[in-house]
Symmetry: C2
């Protein structure tokens, strides 16, 4: 069961959190074992798809016995870094940044918010979920003391590239980007975009063409 | 330039809002024409990819002259329904629902919030951006009077399926779903998911494996 995740495709990677979700549900419902067929029906995938996906990470299934739910759930936690944990900052304490800071579920997934930053004097000094909002001027000092893995960017589009460059220089490993802007970053930093406007426009396209 | 968008792949559909964004920027910067090569460099796609994508909708380019930015921008608006507009409700006025209701950009994309619904007595009767939060009890009446296209669901996971069934019965055409739950809906209703937890977990996977 060694991790063999060298050449895992983007499509498989995108499905990993879905496995995590479904396995967490099964575990919570007391299910001990599940066949790839039963899991495939729940997840709306084919059984062979599931076997292929999981084979990227060493398999986990026993022919004829299906998957051990708890074991597979625990492996999925490791694969996704839930146990490892990610020290996280949020930059931009507007409506969206606040909503994210208040969303308890991210902590259960391993994302621990260590700092929140903004430049708005009405926000700086106030707290969200017990975390004080700091001025952006403090970010260099903060990041040199705390070892931060992830920066969540909920800042205006115009300054996103500049802020991204700043956190890259501060040694951040990954950016979760909510600005409607495609960032180009050095190879040592990964980015995951949540382009909300893009998503709702895809919905509109599908409505028109359904 | 008739729309020939019968068999447009999901990958192409997902790129359409990006075309919209880049063309809006070009237009705003006063660019009149752009070659597929120059556009491809901006968008980090290949020129042939762009030509193929746009050929799904009739082409728009003139050999050797490139694309007329304003014309292509206007076509993209039509393709994505920006001019048509979508009458929208938000169900769930918690942190995320409020952040979405306050996000002015969705209106510029054609999504007009006509109503916001919740069951929390502390929220019902208050307003966000001038829109009064109504109790869920009022949703049947509201939807029978207003012709609503889109429901944005920012409700707890446990009740998402139930609420989705409800808005489907009320004649909604599309659901923008923020719950970490994959909805199964009748064919006449489309869904676009924003699974935030999935997205941040993909980031974590990429950090570990970068």
């Amino acid at each position: 069961m060694a991790l063999q995740n060298k050449k895992v495709s983007d499509a498989v990677i995108k499905r990993l959190p879905r496995y995590f979700r479904y396995l967490a549900d099964l575990k919570e419902n007391g299910v001990l074992r599940i066949s790839s067929k039963a899991l495939s029906e729940k997840m709306n995938l084919t059984a062979s798809q599931i076997r292929q996906d999981l084979s990227c990470f060493g398999g986990f299934g026993q022919q004829g016995y299906g998957y051990n739910v708890e074991l597979l759930y625990n492996e999925m936690r490791k694969i996704l870094g839930v146990n490892r944990g990610f020290r996280t900052i949020i930059i931009g304490a507007g409506n969206l940044g606040q909503a994210i800071a208040k969303h308890a579920k991210f902590e259960a997934r391993g994302y621990f918010v260590k700092g929140i930053f903004d430049v708005d004097d009405r926000l700086v000094g106030t707290s969200i979920n017990g975390i004080r909002i700091r001025h952006m001027d403090e970010i260099d000092d903060f990041c040199s003391k705390e070892s931060i893995d992830v920066a969540i960017l909920t800042v205006p589009r115009e300054i996103t590239a500049e802020i991204a460059d700043k956190v890259v220089a501060l040694g951040i490993k990954g950016i979760w980007n909510f600005s409607a802007m495609d960032l180009r970053l050095p190879e040592e930093v990964v980015v995951e975009n949540v382009h909300l406007s893009d998503s709702i426009m895809v919905l509109g396209y599908k409505i028109i063409n359904n």
